[in-house]
């Protein structure tokens, strides 16, 4: 059985991000790109300290990707001296967020970045399907699924934390979509907002995430 442990969303004004990180860690994350800082803030909010050493996978998607950092790199390479500062280039490598996160989540075993091809849709159905498969196989004990965006005026992080073993307080379970009646939701970046809202209501119908393009990957949450 796959347990949903946490559904949470975070929003920051870019100027406030360093303060949020410092207040959480007691120190800044020097030279860490914004998406990496957002990953640290979200992952630590999802995982209580006693779970951070457990075998963990991170699957995160992004509409923006390192957009602002890439534009800065393009300016430096194509209009500037041609030789970018090393950290300007490193900031354009989204996969490096895992290295920044690992000291705080030492159980992190793998991480995958899934950039999105559309600004309207998200791939939560893919993330949750892969996460459920990995947990069912026993490959990891917990999988963090996230959508992280860094825009010029906002930073958004939406998270769903799944695990194979419940801590006793998991509010819902994840399963392949069944035939029973369910609340249908579209696959959008802020899907965890809807999940959190559904969790806050009295138990009722399951919540189904259905992507018309991938019917075999339809999943649903059921209240425990």
């Amino acid at each position: 059985m796959i347990h949903l442990d946490t559904a949470l969303s975070q929003q920051f004004v870019p100027a406030d991000l360093p303060t949020a990180v410092r207040s959480l860690l007691g120190k800044p994350l020097r030279r860490a790109p914004a998406l990496a800082q957002l990953a640290v803030l979200g992952a630590l909010a999802c995982l209580p300290a006693e779970r951070r050493g457990r075998p963990t996978a991170l699957l995160w998607q992004s509409t923006s990707g390192p957009r602002l950092e890439t534009l800065e790199l393009l300016d430096e390479v194509c209009q500037g001296s041609g030789e970018p500062l090393p950290f300007t280039f490193l900031a354009t490598v989204p996969a490096s967020a895992a290295v920044q996160l690992h000291p705080f989540v030492p159980g992190l075993r793998t991480a995958s970045t899934l950039p999105l091809e559309s600004e309207q849709a998200a791939n939560w159905h893919l993330l949750l399907s892969i996460a459920a498969n990995w947990l069912n196989e026993g490959r990891y004990e917990q999988v963090l699924c996230a959508h992280l965006d860094h825009w010029s005026d906002s930073l958004n992080g939406h998270w769903l934390a799944l695990s194979a073993t419940t801590s006793g307080s998991a509010p819902a379970t994840l399963r392949a979509a069944t035939g029973e009646a369910a609340i249908q939701l579209a696959d959008t970046p802020d899907f965890p907002v809807a999940v959190a809202r559904w969790l806050a209501e009295a138990p009722g119908q399951p919540l189904r995430l259905h992507s018309p393009a991938a019917p075999g990957l339809a999943v649903e949450f059921a209240r425990t």
Binding site: S64, L74, P84, S96, A98, L114, P115, L116, E117, W134
Partner: protein, 361 residues
């Protein structure tokens, strides 16, 4: 439900040719010539696609369509998994400033899907630097194994751009002369272009995907732990998943990009796992470059083409053994049937990848 996943037809366009079979022949012949790419007042060796066309988009379209032809007929609703570290950055560079990027950072994947005629459903994209290809294969494999899809195409795409070259140059990771995998005198990697794709399916083929694992080496963003222990751990997990012992592996396709530190870490890892000796070690990066996000799929397609020909090619660029590594790659081509081959990737940005293929008798 967990069913075996098989590797089917593949396509590959890289510096060594425009189909896997042509690339295999070129590797057997020891071809490893490269061109040059200027960066400011420096120049670096560079493995370009074998095209006369200079327009970025036209080159991309030709290469992707060529790869699509090699894959054979496909239903337009076949799920497409795209692996790239740069997507359309090279195209953006060709346009006048101020530079613009699409709002969705992998929107280029839609164009790739259209060229492949796999545009009935939206593609999935993976950007995990050098291990992107194995991440995409891992995801597709997971869904097929679970019975959620029956077939997938994984496409690796890495095309010329100045930004990546400049970034690697700024970090002093590039060789000014040539790629020398595991060589005592190695001094950096050589970048290249590639477009490659492979079909994954639940339908049996001669090659089964026995295991694939990705991992993290958090030693540094730019290089692995020199002692190789995170790499060794992942190799061990991959062997365990495949149900194999180290002695069952007949061939290792190395990461071995010619980087001083990364080659050392890889060698140290291999010695921890292959304690009684290593099978033949092969690097392909000296033949067609480090193709970054495409490298996982490109090197898999090239390797399977060689193995289908019962050939293990020599590793180009290797001359002088490095006593610190105490391992050396193939120095001469040989005919050999390979039952199990292990492919290793060590990514920029801390990613690790390992994949094992098994020939089904």
């Amino acid at each position: 439900m967990r069913r075996p996943v098989y590797l089917g037809a593949s396509g590959l366009v890289c510096a060594r040719g425009h189909t896997p079979a042509v690339v295999s022949t070129a590797l057997r012949a020891g071809e490893c010539s490269s061109s040059w790419r200027l960066h400011g007042n420096r120049r670096f060796p560079w493995f370009a696609l074998p095209l006369d066309e200079t327009d970025w988009l036209e080159r991309a379209a030709w290469a992707v369509r060529q790869v699509g032809e090699s894959l054979g007929p496909l239903a337009s609703a076949t799920p497409l998994f795209v692996a790239s570290s740069s997507f359309q950055v090279g195209l953006c560079e060709t346009r006048p400033p101020p530079y613009e990027l699409p709002v969705a950072n992998a929107s280029f994947s839609r164009q790739l899907a259209t060229w492949l005629r796999l545009d009935e459903i939206p593609p999935y994209s993976f950007s995990n630097a050098c291990i992107s290809g194995f991440s995409a294969i891992d995801a597709a494999r997971s869904l097929i194994a679970a019975g959620q899809i029956d077939e997938a195409v994984v496409l690796g795409c890495e095309l010329a751009n100045a930004s990546t070259l400049a970034g690697f140059a700024a970090l002093e990771l590039l060789s000014p002369t040539a790629c020398r995998p595991f060589d005592r005198d190695r001094d950096g990697l050589v970048l290249g272009e590639a477009v490659a794709a492979i079909r994954l399916s639940a339908t049996p083929t001669p090659w089964r995907l026995a295991a694939v694992r990705t991992g993290i080496d958090a030693w540094s963003i730019t290089g692995p732990d020199p002692d190789g222990s995170p790499i060794a751990e992942l190799l061990g997990e991959c062997l365990h998943e495949a149900g194999l012992q180290a002695s069952d592996i007949d061939l290792i396709k190395l990461q071995a990009a010619g980087s001083p530190g990364t080659d050392l870490a890889e060698a140290n890892a291999l010695r921890q796992i292959f304690t009684t000796g290593t099978p033949p070690l092969l690097s392909l990066k000296s033949a067609f470059g480090h193709t970054l996000g495409a490298s996982g799929v490109a090197e898999l397609a090239a390797l399977l083409a060689c193995l289908d020909d019962r050939q293990i090619p020599a590793t180009a660029g290797f001359v002088t053994p490095d006593p610190q590594l105490a391992l050396q790659p193939t120095t001469a081509g040989r005919q050999q049937t390979v039952r199990h081959a292990l492919l290793n990737l060590i990514g920029f940005g801390g990613g690790l990848g390992c994949l094992i293929v098994a020939h089904e008798r």
